[in-house]
Each structure stands twice: as C-alpha cells, then as structure tokens.
Symmetry: C2
Subunit: 402 residues, 2 copies
Amino acid sequence: MTTYILRCITCKKEFEPKPGLYYCEDCGKIMGTLEVIYDYESLKADASIKERLFYNKASMYQFDFLLPTESKLKLDEYVGGTPLYKFDLLGLKDVLVKYDGSNPSSSYKDRASSIAINKAIDEGNEILFCASTGNAASSLAMLNAHTPMKTYIFVPAAIPAGKRAQLEISGAEVYAVEGTYDEVYDLSLDLGLEKGWYCRHAAINPYLLEGKKTGAFEIVIQNNFEVPDYVFIGVGDGTVVSSLYKGFWEFKEIGLTDKIPKIIGVQAEGIPAIKEAFEKGKPYKPISISGATLADSISVGKPRDVIKACTYVEASGGYFISLNDAEILDAIKELGKTGIFAEPAGAVPYGGLKKLIYEGKITKTDKVCLVITGNGLKDVKALEGAISKTTFTAEEVIERFE
Amino acid sequence: MTTYILRCITCKKEFEPKPGLYYCEDCGKIMGTLEVIYDYESLKADASIKERLFYNKASMYQFDFLLPTESKLKLDEYVGGTPLYKFDLLGLKDVLVKYDGSNPSSSYKDRASSIAINKAIDEGNEILFCASTGNAASSLAMLNAHTPMKTYIFVPAAIPAGKRAQLEISGAEVYAVEGTYDEVYDLSLDLGLEKGWYCRHAAINPYLLEGKKTGAFEIVIQNNFEVPDYVFIGVGDGTVVSSLYKGFWEFKEIGLTDKIPKIIGVQAEGIPAIKEAFEKGKPYKPISISGATLADSISVGKPRDVIKACTYVEASGGYFISLNDAEILDAIKELGKTGIFAEPAGAVPYGGLKKLIYEGKITKTDKVCLVITGNGLKDVKALEGAISKTTFTAEEVIERFE
C-alpha cells in the first residue's frame, strides 16, 4: 500500500484519510467528491516501478503501488486481468475491445467492489451497503458472499432478472425498493451513513474509483504501453468514465506513458444528465433530470460523480455523446458479430464509435478503445423484440436444406 | 501439433485421421466413438515437457503438445485459464472449485468449440454445425462469430432465453426446432454429415473431447500438481466427464502426475440415462430413456458418449449419482454463498458432494474438486420460484432499520 491523501474536487482542500470520511463537508456530497492523491513524484522516481513486469492476465492488484488497500480477498486473484481483444471494426483496424464481462460477477463493477470489501476489512467494519442499478450491487453481493461480513443491498424493484438472481443467490440482504434508482440511492445513502455501514457507492466513496481505474492501466499494459487516441465508455453516475481518465493520467504522471486518450462518454439519449451538465459549461454543477432508457446500468437522472466526470473528460480533450434505445440495440447486435455479447450499457461504446465515424469525427487512422462493462447475459430481457424467436418443425428444417 | 491416431473405443481398431472420419463404421455412432491417441511414450521421454513452465491463467493452448489442431483463433487466448478457487465447504477444507463460467461465452463448452473451429480451418471446411441443449451451440456461435465461416445451429425450441440470445446476437443461423434435444440432435447429425459440414458434436467428433480435457490439465497445474482424490462433474451426453478422465489419464501417462482422481458423474434424477447404463454393468450399451429436469444442460435421455463415459468413470474408480430438481436448486443457492453463481447443471457437482458426505462416502480428509461448467446468468429462469421477489416501499425500509 502506498500513502495518499484525499483532496476535494471543488475547493481543493486536503484531508488525511479516516474511516467514515467520504466527501468534503464544506462542498457537500456532489460538489465535494474527493480524489485519492498519491505521492506521484516519489512514484515517478521509483526505478522499481519502471522495471516492473506487468502481466496481461494478472489481477488488478498487480497495480498495488497505486491502490489504497491492504487486505486481500480470496476472489481478488480473478478480478481484472480481463481480455483486451483487437478487431477490425467499422472500417477501423485493430480497434481495442476491453471486455469486463469475464470478471467474477460478470461486470466492471467487481474492480470497485473488491476495493470496497478490502477497505472495509482494513477499517474493521463488518457491514457493507450499496444502492445500485444492479451491477454494483450484484458485484458487491457476490464478492462479499464468502466473507463473514454482511451485505445490505438496495435496488430499484425493476432491476433485470439476472442481476436480482445474483443478489439473492449470494445470500445478501436485498431491499428491492419501489422507486427510481435516484430515490433508492438517496434512501440508502442516508440510512447507511447514519448507521456507519461501509459505503459501496462509487460516487461518494473515493476509494472505489481507485479500483475502477485499473481498467485503464490494463488497457495500457495489454497494448504494450501504446495509449489509444480515444476511449469510449458508457456513462451513468459518472464514476467509470472518471476512473478511466484518472488511470491514464496517473500512468502518465508517474512516467509510464506520455499521453492521455480523449475520453468519450456515451450516455442514453433518454436520460443524458451528465452530457447536459457538461454542455452547460463551467463551473460544472449538479443536475437532476428525469427520463428512461432500456440500458438500465446507465439510467441515472441525478448523477453523483458529475463534477469529476465533467472535469476529467474535459481535461482529456473528450466530450459526451448520446444514443437512443434503437441505436443501443443495434450496437449490441453488431458487436455480437465479433463474439462479444454486451449488456445494453456495455454496448454503447460501440454505438458511440459508429456515430462519431458517421459524423467524420473519428477517422481511419485513429486508435480507438471500447470499454465493455458488462456481460450480455446480465440483461437478456432488454433484447426482447430485437432478436428472433422463430421456431421450426423438423420437416421445415429438412425442406430448408433440400 | 503432435501426431496422433484414432482408435475405436469398442473394437480398438486404429484409424489414420482424415476429414469426415468421426466414428468407427463397424461399431456405429455410439458404440464406435473414437479416441484420439498420441504417442505417449515419446511425450514421456520428452524432457522439454517436464521442464516446461505452465501458467495458471494461460489459455488451454499452453497444452498444445496434447492437442490435435494447428490453426489459432483470435479468441483462443481467453479460452481456458479459468479460476480454480479453494473454499472450505460442507466441513471439508480447501475444496477446489474450477469455475468455467468466465470463458468467453460463459461456459466450459468453449474449450471444445475452439478446437472445432480450428480443426474446421485445418481441414478447409467453411461451415460448422451443432445441435445442443444450449451451451455448446452458444459457445460455437460466439467463438465463430468473428471468423468468415458459417455457423448452423440446431436447438430445442425451449432453450433458456440467455442461451438463445447469445445465438441470435452472434449472427449464427439458428434453427430452434420443436422437439426434445435427442430429436434435434438426430435431425441435425443426419443433415450435417450428409452435407459435409464440420461437426461440432462432442459425442461424435473425437477431437472436441481433446479441448474439454484441458480442464483436467488446469486443475492439476493450478493445484501445484497435486491431484485431488475426487472430481465431481455434471453429466448429460457424457463428453465432459469422459474428457476429465482422459486429461488426468494423459498427464499420468506422460509422467507429469502419478494418480487419477475418482470421477463422480452427477446426473439429474429425472433423466439419469448414463447412470442407468453404468449400473447395468459391462459390456456397456447405448440407452434411451425419457424424462425431464430443470437442469437443461444435462437433460439428455439418449446420451451419445455413454460408452466412453461408463468405461472411463469405471477406470477411474468412480461412479454415477443423481440429484432431484429440489436438490439442484439447493445446490445453486448454497454454492452462491461462496460467490460462485452456477447454472443448474453447473451446480450439480456441489449437490453431489453434499450427498456423498451425507452418505459417509466422502470424509473430511478427502481432497475434492468440483467442476462448475456454466455461469448462472445463462439460465436465470430456472431459479424462478426458488428466490425471493419481495419488494419494499421506502417507508418499509426505514422502519426495518429503526
């Protein structure tokens, strides 16, 4: 474990880490999200990091010199180290496809949940809680299942069946609450912070982004330290998009790379909260809109990591775009032709790339990476109506091939 | 690629491999399944194999000295190398849990599909076909999606939604046929062999077992060459259980280990065809029964690899047992408490272990490995009725914690 401090994204005030400190009270829960800041100068001067061998399939804990936890879970060995495929797609050569559907609970969120559980152990907490559109909750529940610690899960009652099944199977205490994600989030956050449970809300708890950023580290090492020009990622609450920027930024800051890709955040047109906040310009402010999309993982009207997301995406030279539900379904189906099956929110990077190519903003020589955050099996129902259900009799099959 | 010959499991006649040769015509499709036989004496004498470094997370192609293919697919790098967890379970210390739900298409079947596609390329075939209860088909369809080769898929119309979605998304040509797995199998086999399509039916095509056996190799190397006393595996058509025996047998034959575990094949009580054939005793004969189970992947009444399965399991000193559907559901739920989410057929090894502990046949000092063949997200519907669907209002949640 390296030493670090916490710093407010808005007022830049610095804090010594302590249990229960999740945000800057002066600036509040949304404006006052904290950054975990390591001693980058020392890390840059540390020759052992430059000489270090990194492994394409090692767990995310191979990056322990930039992680804030000490404990280790049994399942940690298999969190991260996920595939980075190269495909010729949409006229572009060697598009990088980072596929996080092969994590233990089949989503990117395992990177954050693993950190949450280890940090809770470090701090001596015995209960973890989470409100989630599904993946963060199922990830926490599955990874925490074999520990003696308790898991309280708060989800909107309407989450997809696959995600609910994972929760129930894990033995977590599940509260499926009637209401939107935003309502459930507020309810559980108030309750959990009051009770002193360990908070697995990536937008509030600054340590969770530290787990998520390892996806960026892996893209770099798996691509032989060649940093792509663009990275596309689905955006709901704003934490994964923020984490990718921070990961690329940190590797540059400590001298392992010399470039940060433009981060393109892809939202659902039905509920593009962060995109709207970003386009209103600086100073970035909290936003709350209503709307809907079939991509449940990014169906967030009141994003909690909006300030970091806007600040970081701007710093990268990137921006936000959005797709309608038909474009999202098309993205799932077209990406499927490579053998990658993504859940709706996991497929939006592909749809985003397609849109920017169509608009002439991405050209053939650009090096692009798509980050696929969840296995398509998570939400099969979303595909209903979009895929064939045709059945045949034996006779019809025989006739077909005569 | 190593050289090999093919040998009939029944009459022991040997054949030179050639395209289109899948079984011994003298003995027929079921009695005449072929074994792929390498030059084990030479391999045993080959010092480079003993000195070889094996990697816990490398793809199954690290075992190329015991594989029959030359081509390589883009997705091959991520087939195999799946987690081997150790959990204290049911009073036993360090039960090994081999979890194949993290393969590209989320099941064990990727090990065989990868071999099928590479072999088809080796032979210059351009169409692959498969009849399947779901996983073999979705695996072939997903892995073959990015190649220029065609995929024809034949499945029972009633396969679970997750598996059907994978098929449709991949771009395969899907024939969902009204009828049982056994009927669809016969239909497609006749059609495919007549047309000369490359056959991805693990019970007929002897090469596919070669891919599947790599699961056994991985258990050995991931457990530091300590071979467990017992290996539990779900059994439908009989190919995975056969492949595990062959893998352990080959490692012993070439001097990498000195022991073969007892293989315990776990079937569904509703349709325990191979168990019945095994218990009738030698000479083992084809069997055809009818019945049903919620574990769709092992719902097979007319198993095609019955001769190998019975012969190999007997040679290992193991046997077959069965579980009813309630025991299968319990197995999914209890295994879930470790953080492993298995589809019904993937959870039966856990239920089988529980049964044999209860019967006093497995004791605390036995070293056990459970092979979990598919991700629970494959078949969420199977859990309906077994997991809670309770929802809460915000007020109810607040009250609960007052």
